[in-house]
């Protein structure tokens, strides 16, 4: 191993193959939002198309519908995916959070049961972490799953579950030991959203679209075989999943690099009307997006060499969420009065989507563990500062 910042022949070939396939398959007109019924269905169809092309989850083994690529190759694919402005991944919860969890903690039977359907887009997954009284404090969960023979009976109330409005399944943490407290006595269980007793109430986001939902469980019966890992191991598994979420795969740098490129374009077009300070701001965004990508390449190389992901996940979360906000704020500044126009406004033109993106970027510092929590983790686990009252 040694630093060699140029692509191998094989990596170039992969890039060319992905580019050609995407050029031939990416819909010419952007799909409607996957937070609408029609958009959800269109995105599921796209997941199936990706799968048919072998691009659905490129790092997974072939037996589960992947193509066994390493992390650097995954980055190359992601670069091409975002370069082509291909659709958002409606199954991201399944692909990047549940899939890796199952790969690590699932039984062979569970893997065979869930992974191929996941990769194929046949099952779309939602997460079911938070509860009304437990936001960033996941250990305060109360929804119970009480074993009754070879079934769990689930009762309670989950919230902020993204994609749950139309998804097929959810995965989450449930209290299997009702006498337990905090992070003890939790188990990781998957539940079909079509099961009797499940009720899903959409929650609209700032932009008015139902991007997440509440899930009410009223004595929902699921087989014990739906538990991933051991009973009571839920917290450990969830922490691993949260690491994936904040970490490498859910927010591939290519997405931010694509936004940065669009921002540079936007600035070039409107530079004459801009406060000159925006040139610096935009250049900084471009640099930061590339810095995030370089960091990911470095982590990917380390993981390929046998390392494990650690507190980087928290560093990443803080960095990309602030970068995403900074890019959208810069775009808002460039757009002037048109910054207030939504995508469907007749005058939107190149302002289209930036305000929605701005609203979405506001969620970045909140979800997947608020940035305040991430900073505590960095300070305590990486820097070794004393654990405080919080």
């Amino acid at each position: 191993m040694a630093i060699a910042l140029h692509y191998t022949q094989a990596e170039r070939a992969l890039r060319a193959e992905a580019r050609a396939w995407l050029a031939a398959h990416v819909p010419a007109v952007p799909l409607p939002s996957f937070d609408t019924r029609a958009g959800f269905d269109a995105h599921r169809a796209w997941e199936r198309e990706l799968h048919a092309g072998g691009w659905s989850m490129v790092t997974w083994p072939r037996e589960y519908g992947g193509r066994g690529l390493n992390l650097v190759e995954w980055l190359v694919f992601e670069e091409e995916y975002h370069r082509a402005d291909a659709p958002g991944r409606v199954n991201q919860n399944g692909l990047f959070l549940f899939g890796p969890t199952l790969m690590e903690y699932g039984t062979p039977g569970q893997k065979a049961r869930f992974l191929p359907r996941l990769a194929a887009g046949d099952d779309i997954w939602a997460q079911a972490w938070s509860e009304p009284q437990a936001g960033s404090d996941l250990a305060a969960l109360r929804t119970t799953a009480i074993q009754d023979g070879d079934e769990y009976v689930i009762s309670g109330h989950k919230i902020w579950s993204s994609r749950a409005v139309y998804a097929d399944w959810c995965f989450g943490l449930f209290r299997t030991d009702p006498a337990s407290e905090r992070h003890r006595g939790l188990s990781y269980i998957v539940v079909p959203l079509s099961a009797p007793g499940v009720r899903v109430r959409p929650i609209a986001q700032l932009d008015g679209e139902p991007g997440f939902a509440e899930i009410f469980f009223d004595e929902v019966h699921v087989p014990v075989a739906n538990r991933i890992g051991a009973e009571g191991q839920g917290w450990e598994i969830a922490m691993a999943t949260a690491g994936f979420e904040r970490g490498l795969m859910l927010r591939s740098p290519a997405r931010f690099q694509r936004t940065a490129a669009r921002l540079v374009e936007l600035y070039r077009r409107h530079a004459a009307d801009c406060d000159p300070a925006l040139a610096s701001t935009v250049a900084q965004c471009w640099m930061d997006a590339d810095a995030y990508a370089l960091s990911t390449y470095m982590t990917a190389a380390r993981l390929i060499a046998g390392g494990r992901i650690g507190v980087e996940a928290s560093l990443n979360k803080v960095f990309w969420s602030e970068l995403d906000l900074a890019m959208h704020r810069a775009a808002q500044s460039i757009l002037g009065a048109r910054a207030a126009l939504m995508r469907e406004a007749p005058d939107a033109a190149d302002a289209g989507g930036w305000v929605e993106g701005f609203l979405f970027s506001l969620a970045g510092p909140i979800y997947a563990g608020a940035n305040e929590i991430q900073r505590n983790i960095i300070a305590e686990r990486l820097l070794g500062l004393p654990r405080g009252p919080a």
Binding site: A134, G135, D275, L278, L325, A337, D347, L362, A363
Partner: protein, 366 residues
Amino acid sequence: MDFTFTEEQTMSAQALGELLGDVCTGADLRALADGTLAGGAGRWQRLAAIGLPGALGPESAGGMGLTEADFVLLAEETGRAALPEPLVAHAGVAVPMLAELAAAGVSGGVPEALERAVSGAACVVVAHPLEDYIAGVDTAELALAGAGVGQVALCRRDELRLLPQASLDPLQPLVRITLPAGRESLLPGAPQVAEGLWRRARMRTMVFAAAQMLGLAARMVGIAVSYAGERRQFGRPIGANQAIKHHLATVQVKLEFARPVVYAAAAMLADAFQAGGPAAALPPLVEARVLQAKLAAADAADLAARTAIQVHGAIGYSWELDLQFYAKRAWALAALNGNRNQMQRRIQELLFGGGIETGPDRLFTN
């Protein structure tokens, strides 16, 4: 030198705040946004009943004869409530513009419009010729507009071509307007007077937008503080965490140092307007203070919005929280009628081009 409001000024603002606390609650805004309540439930009439539409109208026309320095606290209250009706555009900008037109001897329906505007019988909005989008047209009967800054026309809403634009603030939808073809200016022979009128309208729009953003920022801080005091995580209110405290304290610092700038800008503007007619040039420092006021208030309100959303966590990102109405109004006000870009460039021009003298003795026009 005195920098205190009169008791009358503060009490009027307090009274308006109380009225809006009754008729313009978060629930009222939500009902309007969700379409379950049309029209505004008589709010405009309530405001008209206490004479607000004519606040800046001359007493001779039935108005209250107030100045910008009087109105700034009232505008702040409408901001605090995210009032959907265009009271500020009407009372703070359109009425004084109509009064200035009337004072310049313009007829063409102006005296009648002024009288109906002052009483609140007609709502009038202002479409600055250099602004692409305006809010509040749906409630208006009349609009002051112009094909260029050298012209002023008074149009009925039904004469205008309106192109609605889906936009951020659900309670003040934007439209692009086009004047009817061949529409004549009320001031055909004197472009510099028209230009002066538009300049004044823009200055008033900016300083009152700044005042509204002060009110919005304070409201959002208040919402976040309440939530942080109630919401418990890890066994205690989240507001006991230093991180939350310091974020909100930082917003408060920004807000409290925007406040005197906005008030000073309003007072300096009132003085400058009284010292000369519409054709008189505005002292560069006064113009700069107005721009500074809008920038500072927009920064405070933007930080308040983002911080309040963060403090709320996931629910802050949902449509279900009323906070969104205040946040979106703040962002929309910041983008319209002088955005950061234009204002920064203009301030730099004034500051580095030498229009403004700097130093400890140069705070006011003296």
